[in-house]
């Protein structure tokens, strides 16, 4: 499989509601994400952003409402659809029993999509995109720093050549320079393959730098949704605080 002309998948979320133990985490969230868009989700910690992403890829079942990826309803089996989806977990989600190389090549080797030599080449290429070298490739996740783990997770998602990719705080543990690289890589992938990208981040520069549109989620509801310029112009107090908070 040489990156068959991937096209992004459109996504629509309707009336998505989810509660845990009687506590509402997502309250009737409705939004549309266009194919090929870079959609950034911001909001306070605990607002339900990670829960929202997990729903998009079928890891959680909504209490009510529905999610359509390219018109097809996402259910518990969504992770095994014909579409190529990928998610970068907030904590990486690397398999601890496999080394970096095996983790990154897992998708290709498990589905027998490429011969081993080709897998090794692709893995090395994706690792270098996230600034990891051949020495790191033989390490196990427990021997990596938090930021390195995150980068391996991103490399693993890139290998899938996804049509829809979800990033949960891709730069949260990275230094500013690597963050910049990752930000560029998100945009690169999007421009190269047209992959629809949903990015959850607390990183204001990153958000405003890469987003086509930004949604602001607080207490399980969408407070604002629009282009970066529209969000900047928002008069909602919480958003203004979010955008202007500085150490002094």
């Amino acid at each position: 499989m040489t990156a068959s002309p991937a096209t992004g998948l459109p996504l629509s979320v309707r009336q998505l509601t989810k509660s845990y133990g009687g506590r509402l985490v997502l309250q009737s969230v409705t939004l549309e994400i266009a194919a090929g868009e870079i959609f950034v989700l911001m909001g306070p910690s605990g607002a339900g952003k990670s829960v929202f992403l997990r729903h998009l890829i079928g890891l959680e079942e909504p209490d009510s409402g529905e999610i359509l990826v390219a018109g097809a309803r996402v259910g518990p089996e969504a992770a095994e659809t014909k579409h190529r989806l990928a998610m970068v977990f907030q904590s990486g989600g690397l398999l601890n029993s496999l080394n970096v190389e095996e983790n990154v090549g897992l998708y290709l080797s498990e589905h027998r999509l490429q011969p081993p030599a080709e897998i090794a080449r692709i893995v090395a290429e994706k690792l270098s995109l996230v600034r990891l070298g051949p020495d790191d490739a033989r390490k196990y996740p427990s021997e990596l720093s938090g930021g390195m783990r995150k980068r391996v997770a991103i490399a693993r998602a890139l290998v899938v050549e996804p049509q829809l990719i979800l990033y949960d705080e891709p730069t949260s543990e990275l230094d500013p320079l690597v963050s910049l690289t990752i930000g560029r890589e998100i945009v690169n992938l999007n421009q190269r393959t047209g992959a629809t990208s949903v990015v959850v981040t607390h990183h204001r520069d990153l958000a405003f730098g890469i987003a086509d549109r930004i949604a602001f989620l607080a207490d399980g509801q969408i407070l604002a949704l629009g282009t970066p310029a529209e969000i900047r112009a928002s008069t909602v107090p919480l958003i203004q605080q979010f955008l202007t908070a500085e150490f002094k």
């Binding site: 890829i57 904590s91 989600g93 601890n96 498990e110 589905h111 997770a153």
Partner: protein, 252 residues
Amino acid sequence: MFRNLGEMILLFLSVVRALPRAWRERRKIGEQLFDIGNASLFMACILSFFIGGVLALQSGPVLVENGIGSALGNLVAIAMCKELAPVMMSILVVGRVGSAMAAELGSMRVYQEIDALRTLSINPVNFLVLPRVAAISVVVPCLVIFANLVGWLGGAVVAAHNDRIAVPWNTFFASIRDGVDTGDVVNGLIKSFVFAVCIGVICCHQGLTTMGGPRGIGRSVTKAVVNSLVLILILDYVLTRLLLPFDNGFSL
């Protein structure tokens, strides 16, 4: 508990459905075989030697007093191959291997490794459960064969060297040769295979359904071990009863 049982049966069925993939997963099955064998062989050896020994020690004097000391080998061997080897080896494997499986899968669940597999369209049953259940159901019967031999040896040593028994080696083994046929050994192997599949499915199921963060892993391990032990002992009775008609010399 009953919902668990339903889920476990479903898990078992998906393992059966995944069986045609076993050849593809042979490398993982091989690794598991090696790990499980490594973890349990030495313990199995010690355990069976002493079980065989204590069987001889308990029953030897009584038999000798009644003048049928020559049947001691037969008794030890039958008890070993039809009952004690399958049950004790299964219990050993629950403790040494099943608990580790539940803990490993539990931590994979808690640290989102299972979720990550699913997002990569990799089915956790094929990737994780199949190799473990396949390996464990090969290893336990092998351990049982091994335990039989070592247990008989243990019985023979005690029989020969204990003053109150003093049944010589030759008599002991001749009695085994005359009294035990292949059917008795196969009977024990069938039981141990069923136990092994249950252990694999229960422990993997508990691991995969771990909830509540790292503390949940401990709970899963405890539940996996307790449920496996209970089921082994219950199934032991049921299987013994079901296999009874196949014994020569007995009938319904």
